[in-house]
């Protein structure tokens, strides 16, 4: 795959966008109208946006979400976050080398800040926020949703895969980005709900007003009740060289790839085998990016088995019981060294492996964005939370507990609102459940007719196959969502179960025309890696074990299948039922680098904003400091633009590593404001 723009995607439509020109350090570059500067730069192959004023380290994209300032650039003389600033024709963009200059400014307008009153303020228009708003709107409650993106949907917008969960409660089987649109439409149709996009909640103040930067205009909102549906943030990881450019989280990656349709990398390595890392790997393949490998510290991936299997089958090696030892490179990561780890998570000498890559994706867990809840409680405003801001779980769970929170708030405001059905709470419990037991394969004995083979061995909250079968031949053994689906009955070969399964774990085997070489139907969603009739493809079993090369006899591209292709091939009957998918990524991609590594950084960075190393923090901890505020005072850790969003966790880990109980550690005092905002915005409420 070449080029930094994604011109072809199996799921996402590629809109024809007008081309405009801007300047980067004096050079003329092309951009797509409406995209942010950071994506325009990536599209032009620029990954370094400047150098840090403290140590000259290369700065580039990190959160892609307006939360930090690593992507800062100078726009027509003014330092701005490139990930939040739309590129304009003729714009002069420059890299930030050291401290930026503040330009002279003529007179600035001054006016009062406008105030608004609402019954309910929902912070975050993702799956939880939208679902809650729909409940509130239906009960005629005046609600405002604020969301920092240009459209609502939150992380749903970035999810090109079909959803898990149950069909009736959380749109299982529908793609995340489509669910986002369905929810947004319901919200937009309701006159009781106002939606402010491009709106960042800055703080819930003690005088019960919430500061919001709405389309660059500062406003104050006074709600009776707040619902914190602000989601989660990604945790960062400590390892040598962790501050090189090209190391960032899955959220940033998916924003670049699935929202902005740029290809930020040609060789990606992933850290973390939870659902987030596994799905990001799959999205990378769909975007035509080579996924060199994935490491997971635990003996097995924490994400759903179907996600891990899906990735392994396409040819991505998953290294369990492995961890990142170091990232190597001068400014941008050039290779990553991993090694096996023992039960105590210590690296095992002699097991080091190094792979060339240009991007390292960190997906090592999420933590709730709890600030708004804490602030509202301090201010004495009634506050609830939903979605990841309440507890980290799948988006299907977020939608459901958002719905519960919405109805709960509606009832608090209007006591005549109906009670929340008890069954909702039970369902909420199931939807947030982590994967349960994994069972052994149960080989289907049938060798006649047509039937589905369900390669789904792990209990997860997911049931669309059982609800879509027109002959009710697939059902859940026990629990209607969590249990494994089984096939018993009369298959008519419609293929609906094959296309709806989010795990791509169902195939059809057809003995009707040939009992020696039955026809196998496989789901396929990486059509940018094109498969045609007569192609010989390397078929694999559930875990990615090779079963042999077989020729494709048919490629079905049915509109009703919601962009899932069906690939048909013929295989010997002893193999046919085992085939689940086929490799698309060649083994060479994942070959180890043999040459010696250069440019090893021995610094493990804890605070990327203020450039504070783990060693500096450890020295203070060993001196006896247990107050995070004192660590901050001495080192400036957490005093940078991101406001301790990454380093807090890493410092807590260091305390744990030193054997200090966390209840002895005085937490970092959090202060307004959530993200940096130009002073002039507070002086002019009209604009």
């Amino acid at each position: 795959m070449s080029g930094n723009r994604i011109e072809e995607h199996p799921i996402l439509p590629i809109a024809d966008r007008e081309e405009i020109n801007f300047y980067w350090n004096g050079k003329r570059f092309a951009a797509k109208k409406g995209e942010v500067i950071s994506s325009a730069l990536f599209a032009n192959g620029i990954k370094i946006f400047g150098h840090h004023h403290k140590d000259g380290s290369a700065q580039g994209i990190f959160c892609a979400n307006g939360q930090c300032a690593k992507c800062a650039v100078i726009v027509d003389g003014i330092p701005l976050k490139s990930c939040m600033t739309i590129v304009k024709p003729g714009m002069k963009v420059e890299s930030v080398e050291g401290l930026p200059k503040l330009p002279q400014t003529e007179k600035h307008e001054i006016s009062d800040i406008e105030e608004f009153e609402y019954d309910v303020l929902i912070i975050g228009g993702g799956p939880a926020g939208l679902s809650a708003a729909i409940q509130l709107g239906e009960h005629n409650i005046k609600t405002l949703i604020v969301d920092d993106k240009t459209e609502t949907g939150g992380k749903l917008v970035l999810q090109t895969h079909k959803f898990f969960g149950s069909v009736e409660d959380s749109f299982a089987g529908t793609r995340g980005n489509d669910i986002g649109k369905i929810l947004a439409q319901k919200v937009n149709e309701n006159k009781n709900i106002d939606v402010w996009t491009n709106s960042i909640a800055l703080y819930v103040y003690k005088d019960k007003k919430v500061g919001i930067l709405n389309n660059d205009v500062y406003k104050l909102v006074k709600p009776k009740i707040i619902l914190n549906a602000a989601g989660a943030r990604e945790k960062f990881l400590r390892f040598k060289g962790n501050s090189l450019a090209g190391i960032y989280g899955a959220g940033a990656f998916q924003t670049l790839v699935n929202r902005d349709l740029v290809r930020p990398t040609s060789r990606l390595f992933i850290v973390g085998g939870g659902n987030v890392g596994l799905i990001a790997g799959y999205h990378a393949l769909q975007a035509g990016i080579e996924v060199v490998g994935l490491v997971e510290a635990m003996p097995k991936c924490g994400g759903y088995k179907v996600h891990a299997d899906k990735l392994a089958r396409l040819g991505v090696p998953i290294y369990t019981s492995h961890s990142v030892l170091q990232a190597n490179g001068k400014e941008i990561i050039e290779s990553v060294t991993i090694s096996q780890i023992d039960e105590k998570f210590n690296p095992v000498k002699g097991t080091e492996k190094t792979f060339e890559c240009d991007t390292l994706l960190i997906a090592v867990g999420l933590e709730s964005v709890s600030e708004f809840t804490d602030e509202a409680e301090t201010a004495g405003i009634r506050v609830l939370s939903a979605g990841d801001a309440k507890e980290i779980a799948e988006a299907s769970s977020a939608m459901f507990n958002g719905k519960i929170a919405g109805l709960k708030i509606a009832k608090e405001i209007n006591p005549n609102v109906e009670e929340i059905p008890n069954s909702w709470f039970d369902k909420a419990e199931i939807l947030k459940k982590e994967a349960g037991k994994t069972y052994d394969y149960n080989i289907i004995e049938i060798e006649e007719g047509i039937f589905p083979v369900i390669h789904c061995l792990q209990e997860i909250p997911c049931n669309p196959c059982s609800t879509i079968c027109p002959t009710n031949s697939i059902f859940m053994k026990g629990d209607p969502i969590m249990d494994l689906p089984v096939y018993e009955g009369r298959c008519i070969g419609c293929g609906k179960c094959v296309t709806i399964c989010p795990g791509l774990a169902i195939t059809l085997v057809d003995f009707r025309k040939d009992i020696v070489f039955p026809t196998v139907t496989l789901p396929y969603e990486v059509s940018n890696h094109k498969i045609s009739i007569d192609d010989e493809i390397l078929c694999v079993d559930i875990d990615g074990m090779e079963l042999g090369m077989f020729a494709v006899i048919q490629v079905l591209d049915v509109k009703a299948n919601n962009r899932t292709q069906l690939i048909k091939l013929k295989a010997p009957k002893n193999i046919a039922k085992k085939i689940v998918s086929f490799q698309i990524q060649k083994a060479e991609v994942s070959k180890q680098k043999e040459t010696e590594i250069q440019n090893i950084s021995d610094e493990e960075m804890v605070c990327l904003c203020e450039r504070v190393t783990a060693k500096e923090i450890l020295d203070l901890i060993r001196k006896g400091i247990t107050d995070m505020n004192q660590i901050k005072a001495i080192t400036r850790t957490g005093m940078g633009p991101c406001g301790a969003k990454s380093c807090d966790n890493l410092i807590m880990q260091l305390f744990r590593q030193e054997g200090i109980l966390l209840d002895r550690v005085e937490p970092n005092t959090r202060r307004p404001i959530f993200v940096e905002v130009p002073l002039g915005k507070f002086a002019d409420g009209k604009k």
């Binding site: 004023h53 800040i113 005088d207 505020n629 002073l679 507070f682």
Partner: protein, 383 residues
């Protein structure tokens, strides 16, 4: 029997440098503070400005010594506390302020302070882009400066540990026992301690600590909010203090620190009494309007963080420092009126001389300004 020579209540702007000065003199000092580490109340909320250009002998003398300590710290002990002699300026936009400032300069000159009156054109060179509409000129005192309160206090703290001082954190004073008109015991929620001399340097809590000993300390904390921006290349020189009162606020001031960040603070009017440190929505719009009007260039500078702290105020705006007449083994060092950080190091040495009874004539004169038994009827000019 006393365990310590001195017990200090409060490890803040005054307590810590006082501990440093006492322990340097080989006195055995214990400091008690209810927070988890030094400087966690109002010290860390100070914006870091340090000036000697006050209006009376006491504050001037003490601050001059503070400036010596701040400015020579790095060369003496090695740690960078961010000292910078960026100066202070009080621009005047009307006749009345011009006259007041010029009158004050006469007093300041009589104490040998380096302060001068500069023209609007000269001022614009120091603060490029400042609004010169109606500007009559400004004071400029280039020897004043700034340092990081966070780094300075921790530097003082660790140095005092080197000298053998002891600190008890996360420990609150709950009772002070008196015997024969002297403090016999300091009782905390975790233990009991005694010393020859007790120093009350308890900032916001001065009044409550006084009440434990049945003495009245007229210290009432009022709230101010401050903020800090992103760092940018240095673009203006001195601290700018705009003293014009308008509806809702009295003065406000800002400077660019050694990191390149602009730090600013505003004085609400009327005062907000109390120690509630949770931020309100009023601060940013209030201060932003005034700053952007005065200095439009600041409009594009991104605000990073805001906070709220207190000035432990006395009725006349001067600190209360001196030995208690009622309780002779008690020294009060309270009511810093928002200047504890800049007065702290000089005051620490002065308090040490109170403890050791080694006064100079200047000390006696300085302590008159801070006399706990004055009538509190005067008023500090351009505080």
């Amino acid at each position: 029997m006393s365990n310590y020579d001195v017990i200090i209540i409060g490890a803040g702007s005054v307590g810590v440098p006082t501990t440093l000065a006492l322990s340097e003199k080989k006195l055995k000092v214990l400091v008690i503070d209810s927070k988890s580490s030094a400087g966690q109340e109002n010290n860390k909320k100070a914006i870091g400005g340090i000036r000697a250009t006050h209006s009376d002998f006491g504050k001037i003398k003490v601050s001059q010594r503070s400036i010596e300590i701040f400015s020579t710290w790095k060369e003496k002990y090695g740690d960078d506390i961010g000292w910078m002699a960026n100066g202070y300026s009080f621009p005047a936009y009307n006749n009345e302020d011009e006259k007041k400032l010029k009158d004050l300069m006469k007093i300041q000159h009589s104490f040998g302070l380096n302060i001068k009156w500069i023209s609007p054109e000269e001022y614009e060179k120091l603060v490029p882009g400042i609004n010169i509409d109606g500007l009559r000129g400004s004071t400029y005192s280039p020897d004043d400066g700034s340092a990081s309160p966070l780094l300075a206090l921790n530097a003082f703290y660790y140095k005092s540990l080197d000298y053998g001082a002891e600190y008890k954190f996360n420990e609150s004073v709950i009772n002070i026992e008196l015997k024969d008109n002297k403090i016999s015991q300091i009782v905390t929620d975790k233990g009991q301690y005694s010393a020859d001399t007790i120093i009350n340097a308890s900032g916001n809590n001065a009044k409550e600590i006084g009440e434990m000993m049945e003495i009245d300390l007229p210290v009432i904390p009022d709230s101010h909010e401050g903020a800090i921006t992103e760092p940018v290349e240095r673009f203006f020189e001195p601290m700018v203090v705009d003293t014009r009162p308008i509806k809702g606020s009295a003065n406000y001031y800002f400077y660019q620190n050694n990191e390149g960040q602009v730090i600013f603070c505003i004085t609400p009017s009327p005062s907000i009494i109390g120690t509630d440190s949770d931020s309100t929505s009023e601060f940013l719009p209030q201060v932003a309007k005034r700053m952007v009007e005065l200095y439009p260039r600041l409009a594009n500078l991104k605000v990073r963080r805001t906070w709220r702290g207190q000035y432990p105020m006395t009725p006349d705006g001067f600190p209360i420092v001196g030995r208690s007449k009622e309780i002779p083994n008690l020294i009060n060092a309270v009511g810093m009126c928002g200047q504890g950080y800049m007065l702290g190091p000089g005051l620490g040495e002065l308090i040490t001389r109170i403890v050791t009874n080694e006064f100079s004539d200047d000390d006696i004169r300085a302590l008159k300004s801070f006399d706990p038994y004055r009538d509190f009827s005067g008023m500090e000019q351009f505080k």
